[in-house]
């Protein structure tokens, strides 16, 4: 299904883009990570256990179910304050 994918901070720089639209057979955030890793061979950064997923502006667990049209943002660990 079609998904909007966003990358932030170190991930954005590593991917070379802030946003892309992908058509991926991914039912959850975790599966989308696996699909992106396979596509780009970027295992270590996307698979990092601290990388968080925000779906449609809500921070969700990696096993959160995705639906067509979702915006999925990948976030390195937060470092504000």
């Amino acid at each position: 299904m079609s998904l909007t994918v966003r990358y932030f901070a170190a991930l954005r720089e590593r991917m070379g883009m802030a946003e892309e639209t992908v058509t991926a057979p991914a039912a959850t955030g975790e599966q989308l990570i696996d699909w992106l890793i396979e596509r780009d061979a970027l295992a270590e950064i996307l698979a990092h256990p601290s990388t968080r997923i925000i779906v449609n502006d809500e921070i969700v667990p990696r096993v959160h179910a995705l639906k067509a049209g979702d915006t999925v943002a990948f976030c390195p660990p937060f470092s504000g304050g």
Binding site: I54, P77, F78
Partner: protein, 156 residues
């Protein structure tokens, strides 16, 4: 009972924010605050802060509202800057007012600890060697974990 949350590039005046919190509620004897500034040393030249527009503000609002409900607060304020900041410039201000001091002090500790791990901000350091994204620190996770149960990732 009021919550004030702002994400902004403009500088702010921590003293003015503190005075805005003080003395507004006559049944409110305690005001606590924390402010964070860009710390020099190790050749640092500047910081740049990135956030997730919309999502970050919502996260800060949840944190502040959670604090107001968990302690008996009258006001909770979180102001966080983004963009480029020089050494000595303010990054974040967190403040709380309450009838009792322990509530105000604990709420401020809670808000800054939880903000560090639960609000989407990313910090990049610039020095003479170049630039690098700041890694999250295990000590920050531990500080936030003091306040959160295992099942509760983001205070709602």
């Amino acid at each position: 009972m009021s919550v004030t949350v702002r994400v902004q590039t403009a500088r702010f005046d921590a003293g003015a924010l503190l005075n805005a919190l003080s003395g507004r509620d006559s049944d409110c004897g305690a005001v606590a605050s924390f402010s964070g500034q860009v710390r020099g040393g190790h050749g640092l030249l500047a910081l740049e802060l990135e956030h997730y527009p919309g999502v970050t503000e919502t996260a800060l609002e949840r944190i502040a509202r959670h604090a107001v409900g968990r302690w008996d607060l009258r006001q909770a304020t979180i102001i966080h800057r983004t963009g480029r900041m020089e050494i000595g410039e303010e990054i974040v201000f967190v403040g709380a007012t309450a009838p009792h001091r322990r509530a105000a002090l604990d709420a401020v500790s809670f808000m800054i600890d939880v903000l560090k791990t639960q609000a989407p901000f990313w910090k990049k350091e610039y020095d003479e060697q170049g630039e690098r994204w700041v890694e999250a620190r295990a000590s920050d996770d531990e500080a936030a974990a003091r306040w959160l149960t295992q099942t509760e990732d983001m205070p709602a």
